[in-house]
């Protein structure tokens, strides 16, 4: 643990710049048809951000509806089994609807209400962001259409049913590879025609400016809480933060409030999948190059012609060929380290946490966990690692049963 410099630091206010740049990354690469919508959103968000009433309203929902603050839990038996650094878990899995996604969905939904928009649209891959948006739409009485690739709808049937029960319409997307990136394309196209009355709730710290900033800000409640909890419970700041990175929203939310704390190391963990070849992983920073996808410049997985590459991860939430531009910036500046963990390592970590702590983690979070276990083993018990347990694993049980050859079938 380090006790120095524990005065609160705000989210890094230096980025993005007014053009939405995080260093050389980010920006606004969109068709002109989206310009008015994106510009209007940036203005509305700037006003909401400075409005104490909006913040109070959001805080109220986060406390009484989502169940925040989420605990910072000392994983005693897990730490003991590793025999190294002490491991603390930021329990985002205990949020209403089962993951950190609701922090952003509610924030954006309240922003939509403030802008007078009565309909939400969202893209979803595994369905978690779709469920979070459908949940926010239900509680605020908004219409909701969720775009989802037909391939993902087949793989994530329970979440399709959940969204429909919540009153959302799930719009099947049959173009391209019929997965998350195609659902994102479809949502952007819908927004071109509907932005007058519709808000597009993007699910991660990706997309054109101001989305990466908005999503980071709404998710930063994770890091702000965590920072206070560390000071209260541990008497100082942690030594190391670890979070998984697909688009990177839970990691951005944990990391951003600690960016000014030079003593706190941070590692984002990508999905190394089943190999290094294109189509076998989803590690955009580890294996990708700078490029433009879905409206911003960041690390992306593309072939040499700029065509988006196929991706694979055991975890549907990490299965995205890009990463938020702020992560690209943190990578380039060296503020955050990025590592990658394989399907198998994540599965092993999943089993370990479940057995030792009675917590079933999401497969996304299991990637951060696998890295945490290795890191803890390399350090002494006087070191503290905080890992973001971004979601619970109930949604992954079918997949885990299949992979571990459990159950009757």
């Amino acid at each position: 643990m380090n006790t120095q410099d524990a005065t609160p630091t705000p989210v890094d206010a230096a980025v993005p710049d007014p053009q939405g740049r995080f260093g050389r990354f980010g920006g606004t690469y969109i068709p002109e048809t989206l310009h008015a919508a994106v510009d209007g959103l940036a203005e509305a968000y700037a006003r909401a951000r400075g409005d104490a009433g909006f913040q109070r309203q959001l805080d109220g929902y986060l406390k009484d509806y989502v169940g925040r603050p989420t605990p910072l839990y000392f994983a005693d038996r897990l730490s003991e089994s590793v025999g190294g650094a002490r491991i603390y878990l930021k329990r985002e899995d205990l949020n209403h609807s089962g993951a950190h996604k609701i922090n952003n969905a509610l924030g954006q939904a309240l922003l939509a209400v403030r802008m007078g928009k009565r309909r939400l649209i969202a893209e979803t891959g595994a369905g978690q962001h779709g469920v979070a948006t459908a949940t926010a739409a239900a509680v605020l009485g908004l219409a909701c259409d969720v775009f989802m690739g037909t391939e993902d709808m087949r793989r994530q049937r329970p979440n399709v049913v959940r969204m429909e029960l919540l009153g959302a319409r799930v719009v099947p997307v049959e173009s391209g590879s019929c997965t998350l990136k195609d659902a994102t394309n479809a949502a952007m196209r819908d927004w071109m025609e509907s932005s007058e009355h519709t808000h597009y709730v993007i699910g991660s710290v990706v997309g054109p400016h101001p989305f990466p900033m908005i999503v980071r800000d709404f998710q930063s409640v994770i890091g702000r809480e965590c920072r206070e909890q560390c000071i209260d419970q541990l008497g100082g700041l942690p030594d190391h933060l670890v979070a998984c990175v697909g688009g990177g929203s839970n990691a951005a939310g944990l990391f951003a409030p600690f960016v000014g704390d030079a003593s706190v190391k941070m590692t984002g963990v990508e999905a190394a999948g089943r190999g290094h070849n294109p189509g076998d992983h989803a590690a955009s920073i580890s294996h990708g190059q700078p490029g433009v996808l879905h409206g911003s410049l960041s690390y992306v997985l593309q072939d040499e012609d700029g065509q988006t590459a196929p991706v694979h991860s055991i975890s549907a939430g990490l299965d995205y060929p890009g990463v938020g531009p702020e992560h690209a910036y943190w990578h380039d500046t060296g503020r955050v380290q990025y590592a990658a963990v394989t399907d198998q390592q994540a599965l092993d970590a999943f089993a370990q946490l479940t057995r030792l702590e009675g917590i079933i983690p999401a497969l996304e979070s299991s990637h951060a966990l696998a890295y945490t276990l290795t890191l803890a083993a390399e350090n002494d018990p006087n070191k503290i690692i905080v890992m973001n347990l971004s979601g619970r694993g109930d949604k992954d049980l079918d997949e885990v049963i299949r992979l571990l050859g459990m159950g009757d079938g």
Binding site: H35, G176, R189, M192, Q307
Partner: protein, 275 residues
């Protein structure tokens, strides 16, 4: 002088208008794309927009996206497209403009892409997903390579912003007939002629109108005010229906359709009461 500028200068001198068909390179295959270029010229087109297939074309509608997916699944690569253009360049007088996502340009490298495109014989580029704010360095490079550059102006673009975009363009400005998806529509937006007139007041460049134009009547209506009509989805829809019949059928079908469309260039529009 750049060929696009020459074409519009000639048309203005003759009081003529331009038909600008769009085709996706490599749908159904590159041999057919090559064969389509002279066919488009015979049918009365002045400039052809050649869509470089991209995996995630958010500025395009379902028909063109499906067409690009088809081309990519068939193994079409950028180098192949450029080669096909290079082989046809001297056989046609058509202006050739590449419609290309900034994702491709960024990845290949702006300079390399533009050098290769110019060497292949393209006369200009259209970036459908590059807003004027992000365009400075790319536009400068386009000019250095002797190409013209068009950015898009939307129905939702305020006139002062439209003026800024027009100033950033060369060759012609590309005005969208409607927001959102490309694709056919039964009727053009009633506010379109007024939008063209207002744009005309702030730019001397030729104005090309596209998105949702699919009939000779609509071509006729558009060129009452604008300098050029762009037709994309309606053509690629015909390509999709004829794909299974082979390249010759595609070329024949598209040529007949573009001939019909070209008929709208010189025709008086039907009076509003008949519509």
């Amino acid at each position: 002088m750049n060929r696009i500028n020459t074409i519009f200068k000639q048309l203005r001198a003759d009081g003529g208008k331009a038909l600008m068909p769009f085709i996706t390179a490599g749908d159904p295959d590159l041999a057919t794309t090559a064969a389509l270029l002279p066919a488009l010229e015979r049918a009365g087109a002045s400039i052809c927009e050649v869509g470089i297939p991209y995996s995630d074309p958010i500025a395009d509608g379902p028909v063109i996206q499906a067409s690009m997916t088809h081309a990519l699944r068939g193994g079409v690569r950028l180098a192949g497209v450029l080669q096909a253009i290079a082989e046809q360049r001297d056989r046609v007088g058509l202006g050739l403009v590449a419609m290309v996502s900034i994702s491709i340009v960024e990845r290949v490298g702006t300079k390399r892409f533009l050098t290769d495109a110019a060497d292949a014989g393209f006369d200009g580029v259209i970036f459908p997903d590059l807003p004027v704010e992000e365009s400075d360095s790319v536009r400068a490079a386009v000019a250095e390579h002797g190409l013209v550059c068009s950015l898009l102006i939307a129905p939702t673009t305020p006139i002062d912003r439209a003026e800024r975009i027009a100033r950033a363009c060369s060759g012609f400005v590309y005005l969208l007939a409607r927001s959102g998806l490309t694709g056919e529509q039964a009727e053009l937006d009633g506010g379109l002629p007024e939008r063209v007139r207002r744009l005309r007041a702030v730019t001397d460049l030729p104005i090309a109108v596209g998105f949702g134009i699919s009939t000779a009547d609509q071509v006729s209506e558009v060129v009452q005010e604008a300098d050029a009509a762009i037709v994309g989805s309606a053509i690629m829809k015909r390509v999709a229906t004829l794909r299974d019949d082979g390249g010759e059928a595609v070329v024949g079908g598209v040529e007949r359709f573009v001939e019909q469309l070209a008929g709208g260039l010189s025709r008086q529009p039907r009076p509003a009461t008949e519509r």
